[in-house]
C-alpha cells in the first residue's frame, strides 16, 4: 500500500473513532485526544501527523455531517416526486435521518450552541445550505413572495431541527406526536406566509 493510501486510512480511522465515541452522554468537547487515538489504534502523539489539534478534527466531523445533510435533501426531493405531500414527506425523511444517524445529528445540534465560535460558525454554514435550498424551492413552488422565502425557510428549518432534537429524547410513540405537531406548525407558516398581505393583529 502506498504511503498516501495508508495515511488516508488512518485518517479515516481517527474520524471514525471520533464519531464512534460520540454518544448521548458524550459530546465532542468531552472527547480526549488520547481516547480517540486509542480507539483508532495509534499512539497518542501520532494523532498530530493528521490533525493539528482536536479542533481541526472537530471541524472535519462537522463538515462530514453537513455532507450527510445535503445527501438527505436529495433523498427527500426524490421521495416528494413520488409522494406529493411536501411537508409531511420532508419531515418524515428528516426524522428518519435523526433517528438513524443520531450521533451525527447530535453533533450538529450540540456544536450549534457549543463553546467554540468556530464550531458554531461551521454548523451555521451547513444549516444555511439547508435553508437556501429550501428557500429556492419555496420561491419556485409556492405563492410566497420572494423576499419572504428566506425567512420562511429559516423558520421551517428551525422548527424541524427543534423537532429532531425533541425526537432524540422521545419514545417512538411520542415521535409520532412530534412529527404531527411539526407538520401542523409548518402548515401554519406556509399559510401565514402565503396570505402575508392581511396582517394579523399584533
Amino acid at each position: 500500500m502506498s504511503r498516501a493510501q495508508q495515511k488516508e486510512k488512518t485518517r479515516r480511522a481517527i474520524i471514525d473513532a471520533a464519531f464512534a465515541q460520540l454518544s448521548p452522554d458524550k459530546g465532542f468537547s468531552s472527547l480526549s485526544l488520547r481516547e480517540v487515538a486509542r480507539e483508532a489504534g495509534i499512539a497518542p502523539t501520532s494523532f498530530y501527523r493528521h490533525f493539528a489539534d482536536m479542533d481541526e478534527l472537530g471541524l472535519t466531523l462537522v463538515d462530514e455531517a453537513g455532507l450527510m445533510l445535503r445527501q438527505l435533501l436529495r433523498q427527500a426531493r426524490n421521495r416528494i416526486e413520488k409522494n406529493g405531500s411536501v411537508i409531511r414527506t420532508s419531515i418524515e425523511t428528516f426524522m428518519e435521518f435523526v433517528v438513524g444517524n443520531s450521533n451525527v445529528f447530535r453533533l450538529l445540534l450540540r456544536e450549534r450552541s457549543g463553546t467554540s465560535a468556530a464550531f458554531r460558525r461551521a454548523v451555521a454554514r451547513e444549516i444555511q445550505h439547508f435553508c437556501a435550498e429550501l428557500a429556492d424551492y419555496l420561491r419556485k413552488e409556492t405563492a410566497c413572495p420572494d423576499e419572504y422565502a428566506q425567512m420562511q425557510a429559516e423558520a421551517m428549518v428551525t422548527l424541524v431541527f427543534h423537532a429532531g432534537a425533541d425526537a432524540l429524547d422521545a419514545s417512538p410513540e411520542s415521535r409520532v406526536q412530534i412529527t404531527l405537531r411539526t407538520i401542523v406548525q409548518l402548515r401554519w407558516l406556509a399559510h401565514g406566509a402565503a396570505g402575508y398581505g392581511r396582517r394579523p393583529k399584533d
Copy 2:
C-alpha cells in the same frame, strides 16, 4: 452570624462563582470543581459541604435561570399593557434579557442540548412553563382554537429562543434584523393558526 446564615452565604458564593465563570468560551461542563471553589474562596473539598457533586450545582443554576425567565414574563406582560403590540413587545423584552444576561441564557441554551439527560430535562421543564403561560394567553386573547394554542406557543417559543441564540453571536445592528425577522415569523404563525380552517396545499 449564625451557622446557617454563614452556610447560606458560602453556598451563594459558590453559585455566583459558577455563574461568573460561564462565558462565551466556557460552558458548565468545562467548569471544574476546583476552579469554582477557588473563585468562591473556599478549599476544594469544602465544596462537598454544599453540593454532592458538580451536577447538583448545575441543576441549581438551571433552576435559578428558570426563575429569571419567569420574572421576564411578568415584565413583558406589564409592558404589553402599556404598549399594546404583543409580539413586538414580547420579542424585544426577550432580546433585552438575552443580551443583558447572556451568561444565564447561554446556560439554558447549551444545557438544553447538552450531554446530561438530567440537565436537558431540567431546562425543558423551565421552557415548558414559558410555553404553558403563553398558550394560556393565546387561548384567552386570540382567535386560535383551544387545542392548537399549545402547539402555537411551542412554535413561537422555539423561534424566539432560536433568535436569542442568533443574537448572542450577532452584532447590535444584525440584532435588529433578527428581531424584525422573528416578528414576521411569529405573525405568520399567528395568522396561520387563526385561519387554520383553510389548509394550505401540502
